[in-house]
C-alpha cells in the first residue's frame, strides 16, 4: 500500500512541467503566507486583492511597448496602492470605498487597453493562472524574488513588527515608517506578480491570506504565524497540484480549495475546543 502511495507521488514528477510546477509552488507556498501575514495583521487583506487587480493596465502597456511585463505590472500595482492612499487622505472617502473604486477602475482600464492596444495577452491565463506553463526561467525569477523578500523580512523583522503593531509608536521612536510602508507595499506587489502565474489574479489573494490566516488561529507570535503559514502554504500547493493531476482539476482553484479546507478544519477545531472549554467553565 505504501509502495502504491509513493509511486503515486513519484509518477507525476517524471514530466518536466510538473516538476517546474512543484518547484514554483513550493516557493510561492512559503512566500505568500509570510507576506500575507503582514496584510492580515494590518487589516489590509483586501488591499492585496486590489493590488492584484491593479496590475492589468501595466501588463497591457508593457506588452505594447515590448517591456518586461513584470515591470509594467509592478508599476501599475504600486500606482493603484498610492491612489487608494491618496483618495483616502485627501477626502472623507473611507478605505473600503476607495479600494472598490480603484480596483474596478484599474481593471476596466486594463481590459480596455488590451482591446485598444491589440495585446496578445491571454486574459484567461491572467485571471486564473496556469501553473503547468511554468518554465525554468520562471523558477529562477521566483527564487530570486523569494530570496530578496524573505531576506528583507528577516533583516527588518523587528522594525516591521513595530510598524505593523503600533505605527504611531514606531514613528514616535523615529523609525522611517514611510519607507517601511513603501517596502511592504513593494514586497506585496512582487509577491502578487510572482504568484499570478500559479493561481491567477482572481485567486492570488487566497494564497496570500488562506495559509497565514489558518496559522493566525493557532499561533501566539508573528514569526510563528509566518513559519506555520509557510508550512500550510507548501502543503496546500503540493496537494493542490497532485489533486489537479489525478482528478484533472484546474490547478489554481485546486490549491486554493485545499488551503481553504485547511482553514475551515482549523477554524472548526479551534472554535469547538473553545466551545467545550466554555461548557466546562460554566459547570
Amino acid at each position: 500500500m505504501w509502495l502504491a502511495f509513493i509511486s503515486m507521488l513519484i509518477e507525476p514528477l517524471q514530466s518536466e512541467f510538473i516538476r517546474n510546477a512543484i518547484g514554483v509552488s513550493i516557493m510561492i507556498g512559503v512566500l505568500c503566507p509570510v507576506v500575507g501575514t503582514y496584510l492580515i495583521v494590518q487589516r489590509m487583506a483586501l488591499m492585496g486583492d486590489v493590488m492584484a487587480h491593479c496590475v492589468l493596465p501595466g501588463l497591457s502597456i508593457a506588452a505594447f511597448f515590448g517591456v518586461d511585463r513584470s515591470i509594467g505590472a509592478f508599476v501599475s500595482s504600486m500606482f493603484g496602492s498610492f491612489f487608494v492612499t491618496w483618495v483616502r487622505s485627501q477626502s472623507r472617502v473611507k478605505v473600503d470605498s476607495a479600494m472598490a473604486l480603484t480596483f474596478s477602475t484599474f481593471f476596466a482600464i486594463g481590459v480596455t487597453l488590451i482591446t485598444l492596444l491589440k495585446n496578445k495577452l491571454d486574459l484567461d491565463r491572467f485571471l486564473f493562472g496556469d501553473i503547468l506553463t511554468v518554465t525554468l526561467n520562471d523558477i529562477y525569477a521566483t527564487a530570486a524574488i523569494a530570496i530578496v523578500i524573505l531576506g528583507a523580512v528577516y533583516l527588518f523583522y523587528k522594525e516591521l513588527l513595530y510598524y505593523t503593531f503600533d505605527a504611531t509608536g514606531a514613528e514616535a521612536v523615529g523609525l522611517p515608517i514611510k519607507w517601511l510602508h513603501l517596502g511592504l507595499m513593494a514586497g506585496i506587489t512582487l509577491t502578487i506578480i510572482t504568484s499570478m502565474q500559479v493561481v491567477g489574479v482572481l485567486l492570488v489573494i487566497a494564497l496570500l491570506i488562506g495559509p497565514a490566516l489558518t496559522a493566525y488561529l493557532v499561533t501566539q507570535e508573528l514569526h510563528h504565524m509566518m513559519f506555520l503559514g509557510s508550512g500550510i502554504g507548501i502543503v496546500s500547493s503540493l496537494m493542490g497540484i497532485y489533486l489537479s493531476y489525478y482528478l484533472n482539476l484546474p490547478s489554481g482553484p485546486a490549491i486554493v480549495l485545499v488551503s481553504s479546507s485547511l482553514f475551515m478544519l482549523t477554524f472548526l477545531f479551534t472554535t469547538r475546543s473553545t466551545f467545550f472549554k466554555g461548557t466546562k467553565h460554566s459547570h
Binding site: F156, K158, L161, D166, A172, V173, G174, Q220, E221
Partner: protein, 253 residues
C-alpha cells in the same frame, strides 16, 4: 528643559489646537486635562511631530525634540492598538529597544536585562509568554508602561494611561511615575478625568495644563482647578474644585 513655543495644529474645519506654550524641567510631572476632544492627544502628538503642526517649535536642551526622539518614550492610548495582534507580552516590551539596537541586530545582553527589569518593575514578568489579547485592560497598560521603561528615555509621554485600568494598575502607575520623577525624568500625562479616585495622583502633579482646543490654564493643580477654569474648559458649572481656602474638595472632573 523641554520648551514648547507657540505650537499649534490646524486640522481644518475648526478642529485643532491654538498656539500652546509651556516649559517643563527635569524631575517634573505634568498633567494634561480637558474634556474628550479637547486636543490632549493632538498636543502630545504635536510635541513629537506625529501630526503636522501649523506653527511653533518644541526644543529639548536647546535642540529640536523631533531630532532626538531616542530620548522620548511615547505611550499611545490603548484603544489605538489592535490587541489581537499575534504577539506575546515579552515581544511587545522588546519593541522598546528597536531603535537602540539599530538595524539588523536582534538583541544584546544589556537590552535583555533592561527588558526583564522593566517587566518585573510593573509586575508582568509572570505574564511574559501570554498573548497580549488575553490580558486585562490594566495588564495591557502595564505592558506599555514596561515598554516605555525599557526605553530608558528622558521624556515620557502617556496618553490616557488611566482609562479602563484596575486599581492595582493605577497604584503601579502612580508608584512608577513617582519613581521616574525622582530619577529626574520629564513626565507628561494626559487624562480626561483626574477624578475622585485619581485625586491622589492629581495632588502629586507638579503642574497641570487645562486644555480645550487652547491652553485655558497652567500652574499647580490648586491654581488650575478653580471653578472658573473648569467651567471654561468643560462648559458647565462644576461644584467640585479647589476653593483656594486650603481645603480639598473632591477633585473629580
Amino acid at each position: 528643559m523641554l520648551e514648547v513655543q507657540e505650537v499649534s495644529v490646524n486640522y481644518g474645519s475648526g478642529q485643532g489646537l491654538d498656539p500652546v506654550s509651556f516649559k517643563i524641567f527635569p524631575g517634573e510631572m505634568v498633567g494634561v486635562m480637558g474634556p474628550n476632544g479637547a486636543g490632549k492627544s493632538t498636543m502630545i502628538k504635536a510635541l513629537l511631530g506625529l501630526v503636522p503642526v501649523s506653527g511653533g517649535q518644541v526644543r529639548y536642551c536647546t535642540c529640536p525634540l523631533h531630532q532626538q526622539l531616542e530620548k522620548v518614550a511615547y505611550v499611545p492610548q490603548r484603544s489605538q492598538i489592535d490587541w489581537d495582534y499575534p504577539a506575546t507580552v515579552q515581544t511587545v516590551v522588546s519593541l522598546a529597544v528597536t531603535r537602540q539596537l539599530g538595524w539588523f541586530r536582534r538583541s544584546s545582553v544589556a537590552t535583555n536585562t533592561a527588558i526583564q527589569r522593566a517587566m518585573k518593575r510593573v509586575n508582568i514578568w509572570d505574564l511574559r509568554d501570554r498573548r497580549i489579547g488575553n490580558l486585562s485592560g490594566g495588564q495591557q497598560q502595564r505592558v506599555f508602561l514596561a515598554r516605555a521603561l525599557a526605553q530608558d528615555a528622558e521624556i515620557l509621554l502617556f496618553d490616557e494611561p488611566f482609562t479602563g485600568v484596575d486599581a492595582t494598575t493605577e497604584d503601579i502607575l502612580f508608584r512608577v511615575f513617582a519613581e521616574l520623577r525622582n530619577e529626574g525624568k520629564i513626565l507628561i500625562i494626559s487624562s480626561h478625568e483626574w477624578g475622585s479616585h485619581l485625586a491622589e495622583g492629581l495632588t502629586s502633579l507638579d503642574r497641570l495644563l487645562l486644555l480645550n482646543r487652547e491652553l485655558i490654564a497652567s500652574g499647580t493643580p490648586r491654581e488650575v482647578m478653580t471653578r472658573e477654569n473648569l467651567q471654561l474648559a468643560y462648559g458647565r458649572v462644576w461644584t467640585h474644585a479647589f476653593h483656594g481656602d486650603g481645603k480639598d474638595d473632591d477633585l473629580f472632573c
